[in-house]
């Protein structure tokens, strides 16, 4: 799979990462070799093997619908830089789907 600078720029935007011109070249090269290494997997003959999304062959274990209180708000809020009336205070973001 070919990884171009445009691919890296696109993924960087989606991931909220910023690279300068020098970095783009390095990252493109590195990402390229990582993806190509993973690409070797496609050489394995998987004829007749069911598709899967996991490597451990097991099922989900469900939880019963029983509510539990774990942490208090005060405890959870310890890491919040700014808060107001029990809310987490963040810079205003008006348009949720601005990246769409």
């Amino acid at each position: 799979m070919e990884i171009t600078e445009d691919t890296i720029k696109h993924v960087a935007t989606l991931s909220r990462l910023e690279f300068n011109e020098d970095e783009i070249g390095t990252v493109t090269e590195q990402m390229s070799s990582i993806i190509n290494m993973a690409d070797q997997l496609s050489e394995v003959d998987t004829e007749g093997v069911d598709e899967t999304v996991q490597v451990v062959d097991r099922d989900t274990v469900f939880r019963e619908d029983k509510p539990e209180h774990w942490q208090s708000r005060a405890e959870l809020m310890k890491n919040v830089p700014e808060q107001a009336n029990g809310f987490i205070k963040v810079p205003v973001i008006i348009n949720k789907d601005e990246d769409e």
Binding site: L14, D59, F62, D65, E68, R73, V90, I93
Partner: protein, 476 residues
């Protein structure tokens, strides 16, 4: 030129569980900000999701009620986006293998029946809630983060706003009567996004679609779709091009307003959720759930009207909520006459609920109480006037109607051996009324009935005393 519309819906239902989908945090409407959260909801390092079994159970109920095919194996996926209401920076949803596919809802518009296909439905987690301040800050409440949602995606088979309205009404009713969701638009437990495109009649490929999100009511859905049909037609007729965009409905003007233009589908980089193993849904489990599926509103309506002989209006009032229909069914099962039970439910009980702003679950009257009281009326033990007193006592204090009537000596007096002498006496002591009666004044008898009621403190059976009075007066 004639245009054809293509309308589709994405409807989110909050599933009625006691705890969240991936964490055991409690779920209740209107809790104080951030009090129903834990380390999983906050996406603290090292935490793992743990699937709530009831989310699947409730989702399967809706799938069964909409004739959808439940996939034997499903798994969750990550939808990646950055926003403060989602601490993980992704939403866990089902993108590749949803809960169910290919269902349908049958609607009736202008006397014609039509099936609207359901493309798929999937389980996912809700995000937290942001309140935007005017001071350059937003305020985040994570209580809603992780509340289970079922998203139902229709096929784009809806041809006009009327069909759209009917589809939403029907879908809401179906989900409501499975008990899987509260389906309250005003509380956000049902949320509607819609999209509409138009194309010249005869053209095969669909036009460019316009999306409208979070419409407040079915009426807004109908109005916004009707407005869009016209607006898009005007754009095309004047040689323009409909933009791939999101618009919002403005209630004040009845128009839709452009929110933003989209350049293409958003790139959410979906991939299978590595923290959760796939879920296998066995046929045994589906059968088990199917056996507990409550009767649909349609089935109940048919019984109420065809078997019980209720009027269309009365049946529909009972069927406004599953709770009231369940209450009525239980009263009938406890031996209540269906017509009387419907009358009491739709007038006295509803009146009480409205006056006191409470719900059926909050009152002390049980279906068994209602049935017992109706029996007392039917067998003539109490008059309907006394019944209102009994009802007031039972609904406020939960007193057993039969016991109350006995304790208070409210049993209706129908015994002629007691009533006859009283009738004679009242006629004897009111010669003027006898005179009036003979002169054809019907009111005279009403006065005498009143006197007898006074003497018996309302307990005399009005039918019996009317009869006795007539006989006595005619003798004079």
């Amino acid at each position: 030129m004639n245009f054809k519309s293509t309308i589709g819906f994405e409807v989110h239902f909050e599933l009625k569980t006691k705890s969240k989908i991936f964490s055991p945090s409690p779920v209740s409407y209107g809790a104080e900000a951030n009090t129903e959260t834990n380390v999983i909801d906050w996406a603290m390092p090292g935490v793992l999701p743990f699937v709530n079994k009831d989310v699947y159970r409730l989702g399967i109920m809706v799938a069964l009620a909409t004739h959808a095919h439940i996939l034997p194996t499903t798994h969750f996926d990550r939808k990646n986006y950055y926003y403060p209401d989602s601490p993980k920076a992704y939403q866990i949803t089902q993108f590749f293998q949803p809960l169910a596919r290919d269902g349908y809802v049958e609607i009736e518009v202008h006397g014609k029946k039509k099936r609207i296909g359901i493309h798929e439905m999937h389980i996912e987690e809700d995000a937290g809630k942001n309140t935007h301040g005017t001071n350059g800050f937003s305020y985040v409440d994570l209580n809603r983060q992780g509340v289970p949602l079922l998203e139902v995606v229709s096929e784009p088979e809806i041809a006009d706003p009327e069909e759209g309205y009917a589809y939403l009404e029907k879908l809401r009713k179906i989900v409501q009567f499975t008990g899987a969701s509260d389906v309250k638009m005003e509380e956000g437990s049902m949320r509607v996004d819609t999209n509409i495109s138009i194309r010249p009649a005869g053209q095969k490929e669909l036009g460019t679609k316009v999306e409208m999100k979070n419409l407040n009511s079915f009426e807004h859905v109908r109005k916004s779709l009707a407005y869009e049909e016209k607006r898009q037609a005007q754009v095309l007729l004047s040689g323009g091009r409909v933009q791939l965009s999101t618009r919002r409905f403005d209630d004040a003007t009845g128009k839709t307003v452009l929110e933003r233009v989209k350049e293409g589908d958003a790139d959410y980089r979906y991939f299978p959720e590595p923290d959760l193993a796939p879920d296998h849904i066995s046929q045994e489990w589906i059968d088990e759930i199917a056996a507990t599926l409550p009767r649909s509103a349609e089935e109940r309506y048919n019984q109420y009207v065809n078997d019980f002989g209720l009027k269309d209006y009365d049946a529909n009032v009972l069927l406004q909520t599953k709770e009231s229909s369940d209450f009525f069914d239980a009263a009938v099962a406890a031996g209540a006459d269906p017509q009387l039970a419907a009358n009491w439910m739709n007038t006295q009980v509803n009146g009480y609920l409205n006056d006191n702003r409470v719900e059926l679950a909050d009152i002390k009257l049980t279906p068994e109480h209602l049935a017992a009281m109706i029996k007392l009326i039917k067998d003539g033990t109490i008059s309907s006037k006394i019944a209102k007193k009994v009802f007031a006592e039972t609904i406020t204090n939960g007193t057993d109607p039969k016991k109350y009537v006995e304790d208070q000596g409210m049993v209706q007096l129908s015994d002629t051996s007691i009533l006859e002498p009283m009738v004679k006496e009242v006629v004897d002591s009111n010669p003027q009324s006898v005179e009036d009666f003979k002169n054809g004044k019907d009111r005279a008898i009403g006065y005498l009935v009143g006197q007898l009621m006074k003497q018996t403190r309302g307990k005399a059976n009005p039918k019996v005393i009317n009869k006795l009075l007539n006989e006595e007066l005619n003798k004079r």
